[in-house]
């Protein structure tokens, strides 16, 4: 009996165990965090929780916190580093139980549950006092819920197509700008024995990125957002049009085989080895690709090609943010930190290390060619900027959607059944 019951309450532990395995190196940080929580924060002590466990974000935050300490020597900063995946589940626990003074998260719908539950503190005063509505104006929309501003954004990055420039040149393929050229490029690559696009859908979200772009290009930003808000049926002909475009790629053998077995990192391998030529990804893919030995001569970036010329080009550029939990103990210093984080020079520096784009319009963009390309592309975007499938769509819809996309990519013939299933989920989620 005891064993069986233990199974039930073990799930809570399993959850913890799961995040431990993936992130061995930050385990100590997570453990440290749990002990730190118990000691009440004294005045002048600032506790920051982040999920910036990958090398570049980690270095960026180290520098950020050092810089803040140098300017505020009287504030003692405690930084708890969580693993990236594990953080997504632990944030819920620490926001309710033992809140830090600052925690990083994401803009848009992704912060909605915490805002609705009253777990984040509105920071309108910080924005007002430091003129952030001016300097961070571009992200004001995605930071506002119910007329209040819920955090400070510090970075964003473009999505698009990263490709093997050398392979394209070798086979005489020009950078595709529209759908026909894109399909032709893929056909040529396939002829040469190269899979056009690599992807790893084991953790689902990568498929969400592909859907986002196909839908944004087929139906446009407004439709994409309406679908996210549950205003359009998933069985709508316009969704089917998006899926049919996707099916064209699937039928033409655009994606690597067995992608459901790989994570996004594992899917980098075929691209590095020259077995695949493109990757629909965020800019964070550049660092591991370079680390794996690809030079800037081999690696390029282009905007996702036009599908429907009547639709204004919208892009995907997720924003990362920092928030003050409602249960924070030292909100005063936390606001100081947010003000520091919003400064142009600080954002320039942190994004230089991150290899991403600063939000502050007074910041300088690193002279990295991918950053420059992304900056130029996003500055000229007039169709709208989407956050990402799982940030624009509510969690439940996103999960069901991405699972459906994964299935669709392997079994395109099940399209109608998948869309009907998603429609069923939509009717439940948005009721």
């Amino acid at each position: 009996m005891q064993n069986n019951c233990s199974i039930i309450w073990n799930f809570a532990l399993e959850e913890k165990g799961r995040f431990m395995f993936q992130k061995v190196k930050v385990l100590t940080a997570a453990l440290a965090a749990s002990t730190i929580f118990t000691s009440a924060a004294i005045a002048g002590e600032l506790v920051i929780n982040t999920d910036t466990s990958d090398p570049a974000p980690k270095a960026a935050f180290e520098a950020l916190i050092e810089g803040f300490k140098a300017e505020n020597p009287d504030i003692e900063v405690t930084w708890n580093l969580f693993d990236h995946e594990g953080y997504k589940t632990s944030i819920r626990n620490f926001l309710t139980a033992d809140a830090p003074d600052l925690a990083n998260w994401y803009a848009g719908n992704r912060m909605l549950p915490y805002v609705n539950a009253g777990l984040f503190e509105p920071v309108d005063d910080v924005w007002e006092e430091h003129g952030l509505k001016e300097s961070l104006g571009s992200s004001l929309g995605s930071m506002t819920i119910d007329g209040k501003i819920w955090g400070v954004p510090y970075t964003y990055y473009q999505w698009g197509v990263y490709y093997r420039k050398d392979l394209f040149e070798q086979h005489g393929i020009a950078v595709p700008t529209n759908w026909e050229e894109f399909k032709a490029a893929g056909a040529k690559l396939n002829e040469a024995g190269i899979t056009p696009i690599t992807i790893g859908t084991k953790y689902l979200w990568t498929a969400g990125g592909v859907f986002d772009y196909l839908n944004l290009r087929t139906n446009g930003y407004d439709f994409h957002m309406a679908l996210g808000k549950g205003e359009v049926a998933w069985t709508d002909d316009r969704v089917k049009a998006t899926m049919n475009n996707w099916k064209e790629l699937l039928d033409a053998g655009f994606f690597i085989e067995n992608h459901a077995a790989y994570s996004w990192q594992e899917a980098l391998a075929p691209m590095v080895q020259g077995d695949a030529a493109m990757y629909v990804m965020g800019n964070f893919a550049v660092a591991p690709l370079r680390e794996a030995g690809l030079t800037d001569d081999q690696l390029g970036f282009f905007q996702f090609p036009v599908i429907n010329p009547e639709v204004p080009l919208a892009e995907e550029a997720p924003t990362d943010t920092i928030h003050i939990p409602a249960n924070a103990k030292n909100k005063e210093d936390a606001k100081k930190f947010l003000a520091y984080l919003a400064r142009a020079d600080v954002q320039s520096q942190i994004n230089e290390t991150l290899g991403q784009l600063p939000i502050n319009k007074g910041s300088t963009v690193g002279d990295d060619k991918f950053l420059q390309a992304g900056y130029e592309m996003l500055s000229n975007t007039d169709g709208g900027i989407a956050q990402f499938f799982d940030r624009d769509y509510p969690a439940e819809m996103a999960k069901a959607g991405m699972e459906g996309f994964q299935e669709f990519m392997v079994k395109p013939e099940r399209m109608d059944a998948i869309l009907e299933r998603l429609e069923k989920v939509r009717q439940r989620v948005y009721k």
């Binding site: 009996m1 005891q2 064993n3 069986n4 019951c5 233990s6 199974i7 039930i8 309450w9 073990n10 799930f11 809570a12 399993e14 959850e15 165990g17 799961r18 395995f21 995946e85 997504k88 589940t89 819920r92 309710t96 549950p113 915490y114 609705n116 539950a117 777990l119 859908t201 084991k202 953790y203 689902l204 085989e257 067995n258 992608h259 459901a260 077995a261 799982d390 969690a395 439940e396 996103a398 999960k399 699972e403 459906g404 994964q406 299935e407 392997v410 299933r421 439940r428």
Partner: protein
């Protein structure tokens, strides 16, 4: 007749209430910490889970009463039936660990130089973490570089992406789970074999019993306690199959390797979870399934106790 040596039987005041009731109270006092923990961490949470399953709750905000709404939805949820089916497959196939463990134990139950090393090596998979087992098997199944597909290649068979194919994925994970579970059953049988009465074997030999007959009629009946424990731990192992699924496939592809335990975790706690009520409803169903087994287990215990 004077009897000064007979102790005064009616002097309760001098012995005190405690001494009087010591025999009756002591067991309860010793049990108290256990009962307390069991109540707080097992019994009460069961009722809490059942209670939550009647609500729609995101774990943060207000919970709204939906009655049996979660269960009605469950009945119309394909993912639930997939998980249920996989649970049954797990329960059935995981039982293979018992004969496999018995076989290995019989094989290792001999006195050869260095047999302890062999025993340790066979026991090794049970010692390492399930997480490591999962990773090792995930690499083993890797469609491009995995040993399995290299080996299949020798026979001219095309690579099979075991973990990305809805047809094979559950069996692939179970195979990974059988590796440590077999080791566990093996250890149980090895200790059991130590307790086999040599005189009975002697007697059976005299009666010309050999091989399979000897095993079936003489050895196995004496291993019944070991078999019983092996069944118990294997059923538990099958029902709590969570780590391997989480590591090897994360429930995929498109949720086809989920079991009830994993589905519950996904609905309630995972990144896109936030559905505590629905998760609790799945937990209740899982609990009811386990109840069947628990009742059977208790009944057997009761019968054995009585039979003594």
């Amino acid at each position: 007749m004077t009897s000064p040596t007979v102790p005064n039987a009616d002097a309760p005041t001098s012995r005190g209430w405690w001494k009087e009731n010591q025999q009756r109270l002591a067991p309860w006092l010793f049990l108290a910490p256990g009962i307390f923990m069991f109540l707080v961490y097992v019994i009460i949470p069961i009722f809490q889970s059942i209670n939550i399953s009647f609500y729609d709750w995101d774990g943060l905000g207000e919970a709204t009463w939906v009655g049996t709404g979660n269960y009605v939805e469950l009945m119309d949820d394909d993912a639930f039936y997939t998980s249920l089916k996989n649970n049954v497959i797990w329960l059935v196939l995981y039982m293979l660990a018992i004969p496999m463990g018995l076989f290995v134990a019989l094989f290792l139950n001999q006195t050869v130089r260095g047999i302890r090393i062999y025993k340790s090596l066979f026991f090794f998979p049970f010692v390492i973490s399930q997480v490591v087992v999962g990773l090792v098997f995930a690499w083993f199944y890797d469609p491009s570089y995995g040993l399995l597909n290299i080996a299949l290649g020798w026979f001219g068979i095309d690579p099979i992406a075991v973990l990305a194919d809805e047809r094979y994925v559950t069996y692939g994970i179970i195979a990974a789970g059988l590796w440590p579970q077999t080791a566990y059953c093996m250890i149980l049988y090895l200790t059991g074999l130590n307790a086999v009465d040599p005189e009975q074997i002697e007697a059976a030999r005299l009666d010309n019993a050999k091989g399979v007959k000897m095993l079936w009629y003489v050895i196995l009946p004496q291993l019944r306690p070991a078999t019983f424990i092996a069944i118990v731990v294997t059923v538990i192992g099958a029902l709590r199959s969570f780590d391997l699924i989480s590591i090897m496939t994360d429930g995929g592809p498109w949720g086809s390797s989920r079991v009830l335990a994993f589905y519950m975790y996904e609905q309630a706690f995972s990144e896109y979870g936030f559905r505590m009520g629905y998760g609790a409803a799945i937990a209740v169903v899982l609990f009811l399934i386990m109840m069947v087994y628990i009742v059977g287990f208790l009944w057997k215990m009761y019968r054995d106790e009585k039979g003594r």
